[in-house]
């Protein structure tokens, strides 16, 4: 497939995944404010931190009030990571590669965009909007899986989505963990359980977590979101399935690598497979996540070099065989 098309497809699914994760964080935070008292109801700054846009936010809005934060994260197109910006960029990418997508995928994505535009025109975001975003994103993934051939286009899309999801899960964990730390004295209280449950819910993980571990125990929650082998939003799951797509793209066997991207991603996956939640917490959760995000960025850069960059130095290939 064309390098330009691969790049657009990769980014389009990253943006959709990003929009979904922003919606998840907001949605959970909104319901958390109903469960908790006034002290918590004013905690809107961490939401901005999760998306990494706090400097821009301070410049544009100043005080992290509920209204400001929701506006900034939902419809503000000056924020490159707002839901609206992500959906617009995804659709713009889709328009440039429309011929490579199934009609159903294009239609759902276009519908998603039009729906967001209508929502935006209505003014301040209502909570229902976040559910719509989650549903639209999930629908898009399902429609892609069932209408798009699982060839290179699909694998680039899956690769982008899973790397984004791994990164987003780590962000949710980082911010919530930081927030929950001062409350370690509350261990075992109902407040504590509410907060850790909220963390799981923002990754749609509460039900699956309970099936696996039954009771809410902080170290098990960390384990579930970082290291679980089977939960589709855990960092390890995302990285390992992303690696699978990468190998399907290159055609290289799973235990060797032909590109730097495969090498970097393989290392990240191996480290996740051979660590434990206790170790992560002992050595510092925040440091662990910081390092993880840096390494994911390196993987992203390597993917770009291997597949998207202009390859003027390449020789003319064996033309007919491909």
């Amino acid at each position: 497939m064309l390098s330009r098309v691969a790049e657009s497809v990769y980014w389009l699914s990253r943006y959709i995944e990003r929009a979904e994760n922003v919606a998840r964080c907001i949605d959970v935070h909104l319901s958390l404010t109903l469960d908790l008292g006034q002290e918590w109801a004013d905690q809107w700054a961490p939401l901005v931190y999760t998306t990494g846009g706090h400097e821009l936010f301070e410049k544009l809005y100043g005080a992290p009030t509920r209204e400001n934060v929701l506006k900034f994260l939902t419809f503000d197109i000056d924020n490159p990571n707002s839901i609206m910006s992500c959906v617009m960029k995804a659709r713009q990418s889709a328009r440039t590669v429309r011929e490579s997508l199934s009609l159903a995928v294009w239609e759902e994505l276009n519908r998603f965009y039009l729906q967001m535009r209508e929502r935006k025109a209505l003014g301040d975001p209502e909570q229902a909007v976040y559910n719509e975003v989650k549903r639209a994103s999930q629908l898009l993934i399902g429609v892609g899986d069932t209408t798009q051939s699982h060839t290179e286009v699909w694998h680039f899309s899956r690769l982008g989505r899973l790397l984004e999801r791994a990164d987003q899960t780590s962000r949710i964990l980082d911010v919530k963990y930081f927030l929950l730390l001062p409350t370690l004295t509350d261990v075992g209280t109902s407040l504590d359980i509410t907060q850790w449950s909220a963390l799981l819910r923002s990754a749609s993980a509460l039900g699956m977590y309970r099936q696996e571990h039954h009771r809410i125990v902080p170290v098990r929650v960390v384990e579930f979101l970082v290291l679980d082998r089977d939960f589709p939003r855990s960092m390890r799951f995302c990285v390992s399935r992303a690696e699978n797509s990468l190998h399907r793209i290159t055609g290289t066997a799973a235990d060797v690598f032909s590109t730097r991207a495969e090498q970097e991603l393989g290392r990240v996956r191996a480290d996740l497979e051979f660590t434990s939640a206790d170790e992560i917490i002992r050595d510092g959760m925040h440091e662990f996540i910081d390092d993880f995000q840096t390494r994911l960025n390196r993987v992203g850069a390597a993917i770009s070099d291997s597949f998207f960059a202009a390859q003027d130095d390449l020789p003319a290939a064996q033309s007919q065989s491909q």
């Binding site: 064309l2 330009r4 098309v5 011929e99 519908r111 793209i249 020789p315 003319a316 033309s319």
Partner: protein
Amino acid sequence: MSDNHSQYLPAGSFDEMYCGDGLPRPGVDSVARRMHSMSGDDLARRQAAAEAMLRTLGITFAVYGHSDGHEKVWPFDIVPRIISAAEWYKIDLGLKQRITALNMFLSDVYNERRILADKVIPEDLLESAVTYRPMCRGQRPPQGIWCHVTGTDLVRDRDGTFYVLEDNLRCPSGVSYVLENREVMKRTLPQLFDGLQVVSVDDYPERLLDTLLSVAPPVPDPTVVVLTPGVFNSAYFEHSFLAQQMGVELVEGSDLVIRDGFVHMRTTRGLRRVDVIYRRIDDDFLDPRCFRADSMLGVPGLMEAYRAGRVTLANAPGNGIADDKAVYAYVPKFIKYYLNEDPILPNVPTYVCSEGDSLQYVLDHLDELVVKPVNESGGYGILMGPQSSKEERASFAARIRENPRNYIAQPMLNLSTSPTIIDGRLEPRHVDLRPFILSSSQGVFVLPGGLTRVALKSGSMIVNSSQGGGSKDTWVLADDRFSRRRSNGFSRTSLPVESVPC
């Protein structure tokens, strides 16, 4: 239920659905009856449903300077424009004849130049055309095909005669709307098709691909691509649509590179050779080494690869010469000269201002004529004599005198009308027709129907999408000449079900 029938009054023009006495034309009465039995609300509701569908499908065109992503849905009117089998038969023959002659003309004019030696067309008229490409001299495209894809504009005058208004032999657009309009009609007004045999249009992409493959260089399993200027081009939707329908890559100039004299595209697995380029970029922008040096859209070295026969370009560079509106005036002579036949579809009478007494005649009759620049499209730069002011005519007269070669003039035609939904009512609006023609080594194919463009403003004859025009689905009704496909052989195996314990 109100009856819209009596309210619809075709005004002074040939109407596509009604005779002068107000009765539906033969063959269309069932459609006319159904349209007119719908209430205003119902019409408006279905019209809105069709528009919503176009928006969801993202069937848009770019509007320069328009906010919000520069996209607009092209207005679509749900009342179909209907052409009888007999009418279509004649159009089909006439277009095949015309394209065959134009193709012979292009081959001749860039090679033997017999037509110039025989003085059928003056040499200086050709040499002075801005679209004449000296670098195409001696070029012999594969299979001798120059006009792979043509979109010829036809109009109907008062008496119902079809005239050729212009030949678009470079990058004609609109065929994607023909296919999508039909799709929208089938989904929003299926009952309108009842009892009629509307000839299908959905094999166009397949035929286009066959056409492109038929002119490929002699390699096994050639690779075809569509070349677009990019997402900001007004016809981008169509480029993407055609690539998707043919299952080929849509490339931009920057995706292509010349290596060892051959054209390649940059893929995730390195460079891959390209054999046929259906290019939707004008000649001027194809190759900065050959045409405009400032073009960022093209591929440096492309023309050299083309001339060496290492890649096929469709349509062939150089076709613009046959699009020139002064050359257009000679097409009936080309038909006679190359085929020894009389033209089946007439030209609109045309005064070429650079010729003989025409200049004086045009200047004396500016208030009756339509004056057009020879190399513009999109309806720009035109003087509509009968609707112009004295000042406009004076300034146009000066321009014509200064450069007569740049202008032609034609009598004002009164385009035919078709019932169109305006504010929930059917009103007559002027239409034209752009059929699409494919030429391959296997012969010439005319897609039944074509794009009907409609001027939505009352009385207006300007149908261009950039100037307030819309479009309609175009139905060619089948008779025995078109056979109907049937499917048979249903599955006899019953579906498995869950077994219920007794």
